[in-house]
Point group: C2
Chain length 224, copies 2
């Protein structure tokens, strides 16, 4: 198998990230490409969730993946080997987030004419990525059961900016003190409009619902 | 019980964090106070580990805790209620890390003449906190089993700057694909000198060893 393409992202020189993000979204809209910004803590299962989701999207959506990481290309390799979906690795050079200009640098390396959906797997971090609009149509995040239901209290901005919260690793619920109803309540406090989907990437529970959500989102984006 | 003291940390105005950190360490040395900077992802169990450790340090070390968080005071309250140890909450105002000057702002609110050890629970984040010397004598981090053994590959700086890595939630090892030997190997790649301690804050496994390490560290710092 070929090497995964690794893009070394440069720090943005533009000051107005919100304007950059709007311009990027308009550009993607014109091309009929939907960009999802997927965020989470390290180790919440972003890559495994993505693999299971991509397998369910085969034949329904044409997808590409951009994996942002400080270092290493383990995620992009894993995704391509497991799904065959074109994946590139973005190295942030120590930076803790991606902004719109950095996202555009990544997209310049994606064959946008061949895809309906690009998933940006952001740097594993509940703080900084929430502060920067990447130009994505929607923000989604994964909170995993072992992290605890109190995370919306401690990382309020992340939960306020997300349209969808996937609660992953539901299979280990019996082994952790995690109160799903309290978690839903805390998420509602931060963002009453956020959709909450309990899933388990390992067993596949709930992943169909996430795939269906993506198909509907992309359809609406293309036809709105 | 009294309200927990909440300190709103201001952004540092000083440019040279390394010099600030050295000055703070010298100041702490002169006062005979040991500062531990404890880092981890969100939800790795920092607060629970700290509670179990503080209970084991009673009568051996005089301790104070500074809980850094974007928002909320749940951790400082939990620690004080469970252990009686004086705990203050540092609000970072959205910032993703603490530097030496911000740490000093917190320490100004601790009765340093009455303590041997101050534990700074840094913001839950594997990226930014690793970039800033807080003035601590040592950096420690918690990696929890559900996060996966590949984290040293993906967050290299965090593992290079830590003198001690606690591997927490060992009780759920049977339910996760986590290879402890591989994890040790990846940590060694980043930092051959780092001490690795598998623990479980919930069952108490390994926590005595962490408490003993702290007692020895504080003794050496005071008498070196």
């Amino acid at each position: 198998m070929d090497e995964v393409k690794i893009i070394e992202i440069k720090k943005s020189v533009f000051a107005d990230n919100d304007a950059d993000a709007e311009a990027l979204r308009a550009d993607l809209k014109a091309r009929g490409v939907y960009l999802l910004n997927l965020m989470s803590s390290p180790g919440s299962g972003k890559t495994t969730t993505l693999i299971q989701t991509l397998l369910r999207l085969e034949g329904r959506l044409r997808v590409a993946v951009m994996e942002a990481d400080i270092d290493s290309d383990v995620d992009a390799v894993k995704i391509r080997e497991a799904t065959g979906v074109p994946s590139i690795q973005l190295h942030t050079g120590g930076m803790c987030h991606l902004d719109a200009e950095m996202t555009r640098q990544g997209l310049d390396n994606v064959a946008l004419q061949d895809v309906d959906l690009v998933v940006l797997e952001n740097v594993g971090n509940l703080v900084c990525p929430a502060e920067f609009d990447t130009g994505a149509v929607r923000n989604a995040m994964i909170l995993s059961v072992p992290e605890g239901e109190d995370k919306p209290l401690k990382y309020p901005l992340m939960f306020s900016v997300c349209d969808l919260v996937l609660i992953n690793k539901m299979d280990v619920l019996p082994y952790f003190d995690f109160d799903l109803e309290k978690c839903r309540e805390y998420i509602r406090m931060r963002n009453p409009r956020a959709k909450v989907l309990p899933i388990c990437a390992r067993t596949g529970e709930g992943v169909d619902a996430f795939a269906d959500w993506l198909v509907e989102e992309v359809y609406n984006w293309k036809h709105a």
